[in-house]
Symmetry: C2
Subunit: 333 residues, 2 copies
């Protein structure tokens, strides 16, 4: 790594150094950037030993962040990029998580799932460059400070509104130097909708079915899956993002060709973690309502996910001594 690269790379703060954040942070560090991390649950381990990255395609290495922090407010210096890599869930305030580390010159980058998640950032940081990012990757945190990168890794980055800035190109270049495919696109919002075409059916259906892999879902209920996919295309269209008419067929065919696969939402569900129901489904349904696009299948799936989440919350109440077990005293239904 030359000194020139290191200078061009600049300073990066990763907020939410779970599997995705730690992996991409490790890549940027490899490419010469000065990378710090905010991580909460694994703070002690990472502070002492850094991250161990084991990648099936890029080898194994240790990533020792420049600063290991439990809060963005503790960041010393001025970040060129703040990369938010948390899940998008109602309990995590995306703006508050990064605000203390965002200076006038900082580009705010988020590598996160979901649709219509830009406005919150644009509103909170009206004078900063905002870069929206999507990761197509399979990697897991196997234990504190240990990240296993199983496959893929492509990133798509683009500015809001739809342009590609110098800083975005620079970030792309760094990722490419580290061995990862990274695309700069003027249509990052369209890319989000495209990803949502797959996520909107398979993520919730894997949870609501009680854990079926994607192939079983497709083989049993292809029409239902297609209906949800088409509704996402219709909402995207109304939002000004035309998706190719082949996208539904292509997603169906690709999913038939995939090996047995558990969705990320199912993994969250099985591990008792909060799910990205609002970012993926809620935001799409709200966009549909705003633009008066019918999406009854998507709406049904969203309603059922809300019920499932409510039931998970109720389970906790069982330990409350005031809890009454439901009883049957209604005519047989």
């Amino acid at each position: 790594m030359t000194e020139e690269n290191r200078c061009g790379a600049g300073k990066v703060l990763i907020v939410g150094a779970g599997a995705i954040g730690a992996f991409y942070g490790a890549l940027l560090a490899k490419a010469g950037a000065e990378v710090s991390v905010v991580c909460r649950s694994d703070y002690d381990q990472v502070k002492q030993h850094g991250f161990l990255i084991e990648s099936h395609t890029l080898g194994t290495w240790t990533f020792a962040p420049s600063q290991v922090l439990s809060n963005a407010a503790d960041y010393k210096g001025t970040a060129d990029y703040v990369l938010l890599c948390t899940k998008v869930i109602p309990s995590a305030d995306r703006v508050a998580l990064i605000r203390p580390a965002v200076s006038a010159e900082t580009a705010v980058v988020f590598i996160q799932n979901g649709v219509e998640i830009e406005q919150e950032m644009l509103a909170a940081f009206p004078d900063n460059e905002i870069i929206s990012g999507l990761a197509f990757i399979c990697c897991n945190r196997v234990k504190p400070g240990e990240i296993l990168h199983l496959a893929y890794g492509r990133l798509a980055l683009g500015n809001l509104p739809g342009v590609v800035s110098h800083k975005t190109r620079q970030l792309c270049e760094l990722f490419r130097q580290s061995g990862i495919d990274c695309t700069a696109t003027e249509n990052i919002v369209t890319e989000r909708w495209k990803k949502c075409v797959w996520n909107a059916p398979f993520n919730p259906l894997s949870v609501l079915s009680g854990g079926l892999p994607t192939l079983d879902i497709l083989q049993s209920q292809e029409d239902f899956v297609r209906n949800i996919m088409q509704e996402i295309c219709n909402i995207a269209e109304a939002c000004g993002h035309h998706l190719s008419s082949h996208i539904v067929n292509a997603n169906i065919e690709n999913t038939y060709a995939m090996p047995l696969y558990k969705t990320s939402m199912l993994l969250d569900y099985e591990n008792g973690h909060p799910m990205e129901t609002e970012a993926i489904l809620g935001n799409a349904v709200r966009a549909a309502k705003r633009l008066e696009v019918a999406c009854p299948h998507l709406e049904s799936v969203y309603a059922l996910m809300k019920l499932r989440e409510l039931q998970l919350a109720e389970l906790h109440k069982k330990y409350n001594p005031q809890y009454r077990e439901p009883v049957s005293h209604r005519p047989d239904d």
Copy 2:
């Protein structure tokens, strides 16, 4: 009980003497009929000791069936009525279960849930009187041969096609003598759709939510529940069964007024028993397709129930040594 009553009552064979069958059989016996039962799982217990019926409203008594059989083919004599009281599930052949005991003079009665469950019986027994029945009752089998009747008990009976025959009136009269409200109706098929307005949302939503009682479902997703109810009304209308425009509101209000309640489908689900998905949802969706009525919310709920059932079936395969656990090796979704 006078001898006259006993003669008028005639001979009844109950097929499927679970909670519902045993309870209504016990009532008919109380009113003077000669009641036999086909019961499989509790055969030994019932053969030796009969049924113990404990009713919160009608007292406690023992019901000693005239014949206790494990198969309808063993029935001796000619039944005036064969009452089928099983759940309506694909694995139980309704016609085969009763055929050996159905003679030319036998009225075929079914006290079962679901819509569009008549045709199968009409086709199988074209020369017999067919009486369709609906029970509004809360009763459980608490252990082999012991039935607990918690509340309600109203029956609606009607012939197919829509008339009320002498035999139906006679059966109604017997039930009334035993202390149970029984209505003879020329619109029993309409009654089935009415019951379905409540069942179609609450039964599957209680299962798919993972066990929420009806009030929680309603408080969280009233619009979704209303959409499903309205779709059932639209399908019923297309089938020639006009339901009052107030039925959706009335069902919503009644459910708000109900105490915490677990649906019968949820109880089946929790006990690992097959669910009446096809009788309640599948038949309604098929009627909608036949008559080209849109029902996207109902369709979604049905598709998800099929996925849930598929997953329950897959769970069994886990014990098969050839089973492969699904793994994640796709770009993060």
